[in-house]
């Protein structure tokens, strides 16, 4: 069960401003049935001032609560003030949202932007940038904006905020590239450790085998020896009980390789030499 704040629950169970506005001055429609959430925002304006706001939402509790919160936040504000509202402001208004649900607040911000543009007669922005996530139709520009504005550092974060990467996962490499590109520019964020030199890598593999892996194998009466390292290929010899164990291939791949990948470098491949 999600850890929703009381305010989220309250705005979900008793949402404010549900419905439509006849002859609305601005309408913003975002999301789709396939995506699992969608919001239509209706605005009534007098000049620069938002007199009334109503919404219709298809989605989970946090999508409904975010929509309700958004309408409460913008009523009575002028357009310039409303435009400054970020998705974080919507989440804050609700006392916070679970991070997996942050995309619900982004939905609210996007609907607000669209409704204001519609009112001002600004041309509907063409989809700018290139679609990175085909499943949810998210572009590189949207991902860049989410990463920059919310200081996101992982693919998981990006998925939580703009949904990109939450479907077939084929775009994960592209999303990572966008994150890396932005983090490179941002000196305050810690960079990934520099690549290991060959000597460092071999030394670290040797140490990891000795310190982490050998003791575990010894418990089963087995043992392991490092034979050679060629690029990312780590050649090892299994001795003792491991040499004759039917499970040794599983041990090698599931345990030795994953341990080395975790502690040394993710691209390592472990192979047994007899």
């Amino acid at each position: 069960m999600w850890d929703y704040t009381d305010k989220v629950k309250e705005h979900f169970l008793k949402p404010r401003n549900v419905g439509t506005i006849e002859n609305a001055d601005g309408i913003g429609e975002v999301g789709s049935l396939a995506c699992g959430d969608a919001l239509t925002l209706y605005l009534k304006l007098d000049g620069n001032k938002i007199l009334d706001a109503k919404f219709q939402t298809f989605g989970c509790a946090s999508a409904i609560a975010s929509s309700s919160a958004l309408t409460e936040m913008i009523k009575g504000k002028n357009i310039d003030e409303a435009r400054k509202i970020t998705n974080d402001d919507i989440a804050d208004f609700l006392g916070g949202l679970p991070k997996e649900k942050m995309h619900c607040s982004v939905l609210g911000r996007d609907a607000l932007e669209k409704a204001i543009s519609h009112y001002l007669g600004e041309e509907e922005k063409k989809v700018e940038g290139e679609v990175v996530c085909e499943c949810f139709g998210v572009t590189d520009l949207e991902i860049k904006r989410a990463v920059t504005e919310n200081k996101l550092t992982s693919i998981e974060d990006v998925t939580n905020y703009v949904k990109a990467g939450g479907g077939c996962e084929k775009c994960h490499d592209d999303i990572q590239a966008i994150i890396d590109e932005i983090l490179e520019k941002e000196p305050s964020v810690k960079k990934k450790p520099a690549k290991l030199t060959n000597i460092q890598k071999i030394k670290l593999i040797g140490e990891t085998l000795e310190r982490e892996i050998q003791p575990a194998l010894e418990q089963d009466g087995g043992s392991i020896e490092l034979v050679d390292v060629d690029g990312n290929l780590v050649m090892v010899k299994l001795c003792g009980a491991c040499a004759t164990c039917a499970m040794s291939q599983l041990t090698l791949k599931d345990y030795v390789e994953s341990k080395l990948r975790e502690l040394v470098a993710p691209e390592l491949i472990v192979e047994e030499v007899k």
């Binding site: 949402p15 049935l33 995506c35 699992g36 939402t57 298809f58 989970c60 946090s62």
Partner: protein
């Protein structure tokens, strides 16, 4: 607040008689069944009796029962044992609608050099048997097919499939976690080599699982340690849970008829009445040949998490196949494999009853659901569009 529990495919209440039998084994009869003294030996006798009851439920021999910590451990043990005893075979088969305990293990093995076939199902959740049989080759190490699906409740013809597979000399495993205790199972009538089930789905506690291993099946343990379970699963026995599971197996055996008559009638009433009162609602899965306690209903144009949380306000517990309940963004892999359209996949609710549900509870759900769906539909931008035939999606 009053709780109406219709989420029994997720977990069940430990039955009172089960709990009563377990309690002495926590404090008074705490001996280790492996000990040489009588104090431990008396416990060994009781666990042996429990093992007999567990075996009897599926008509197995007590020596064919390996006790584990959960259904997932049983599934992992079975599939890994099958591939370890067939080290030269690199092809493994399962379905697209398995529980994550099997599905994710197969995906894990796929990354480690195994060729994996995921057999599809149709719109009604029925397995494509020709696809399954056509995929089998001399290189196939194991076929694992669930007996009944946890979301749709659809039952697969395991007796037939297991015979077809084992006749070809291929190991056959079934995840029967949802089937055991709900339908009659007799392993002797099948070609099953290994079968998994779990205690907490049949009114025994969480933390106990069963793996049936047919006599003569090549086996290698997953959990290596002491001589327990005849060397097939190391680790001191979870004595109170084994005792509890024995009692639970006896009880569900006796209640099997009630499950298939009274509980089935309650389930039928629930879905018939909900479909009568709520438009744009469909059952996910074939209507006959389904577990007697399960119904998965897709409510169009509304979202599952929102439905569940409104039901929660009335104390009604159920599950959803919606994306938002799991933290993922797509509806359940089962509903997607069945091709359930997004319009209703996101709004799918699974009710799973047990012998402890009453007609009065079902009537309560029938009364509370229509206004919940109506309220959410009034909020949904798609509902009106759909009514007016204007929906683009």
């Amino acid at each position: 607040m009053r709780v109406i529990y219709t989420d029994n495919n997720a977990t069940t209440q430990v039955a009172k008689p089960v709990l009563d039998e377990m309690i002495p084994f926590y404090h008074e009869l705490y001996g280790n069944p492996s000990s040489m003294h009588n104090f431990g030996g008396q416990v060994a006798k009781k666990t042996a009796e429990a093992r007999q009851k567990i075996a009897a439920l599926i008509n197995a021999d007590p020596s064919e029962i390996v006790l584990t910590s959960c259904g997932t451990e049983s599934d992992n043990t079975a599939i890994r044992a099958a591939i370890t005893s067939n080290p030269d075979k690199k092809h493994i088969v399962t379905t697209r609608v398995e529980h994550p305990a099997v599905k994710n293990l197969y995906e894990h093995l796929a990354k480690r050099g195994y060729r994996v076939t995921f057999v599809p199902v149709d719109r009604k959740g029925i397995l494509d048997l020709d696809y399954l049989y056509d995929s089998l080759t001399d290189d196939t190490a194991v076929v694992s097919v669930m007996w009944a699906n946890n979301e749709s409740g659809v039952i697969f013809p395991i007796e037939e499939i297991s015979r077809e597979v084992s006749d070809r000399g291929i190991v056959f495993h079934t995840d029967a976690v949802q089937a055991v205790g709900k339908i009659d199972i007799d392993v002797k009538k099948t070609g099953i080599d290994m079968l998994s089930f779990s205690g907490h789905k049949i009114h025994a506690p969480k933390g106990i699982g069963v793996l049936y291993v047919r006599k003569g099946t090549k086996f290698s343990p997953f959990m290596i340690g002491g001589h327990q379970e005849k060397g097939r699963r190391g680790g001191t026995e979870n004595v109170p849970s084994i005792i509890g599971l024995g009692k639970a197996c006896e009880l569900v055996g006796e209640q099997l008829e009630e499950e298939n008559t009274r509980v089935r009638a309650l389930r039928d009433k629930l879905e018939t009445e909900l479909l009568k009162r709520i438009t744009d609602a469909d059952i996910n899965g074939v209507k006959d040949n389904r577990l007697p306690n399960t119904t998965s209903i897709g409510f169009g144009y509304v979202e599952g998490e929102a439905i569940l949380l409104m039901m929660n306000e009335f104390g009604i517990c159920a599950s959803s196949g919606s994306a938002c309940t799991s933290g993922s963004l797509e509806p359940s892999h089962v509903l997607r494999a069945m091709g359930v359209p997004f319009t209703s996949a996101h709004g799918s609710i699974r009710f799973s009853l047990s012998v402890y549900n009453t007609e009065e509870e079902v009537d309560y759900i029938i009364e509370k659901m229509p206004p919940i769906i109506e309220r959410l539909r009034e909020m949904s931008p798609f509902w009106k569009q759909a009514q007016e035939g204007k929906l683009k999606n």
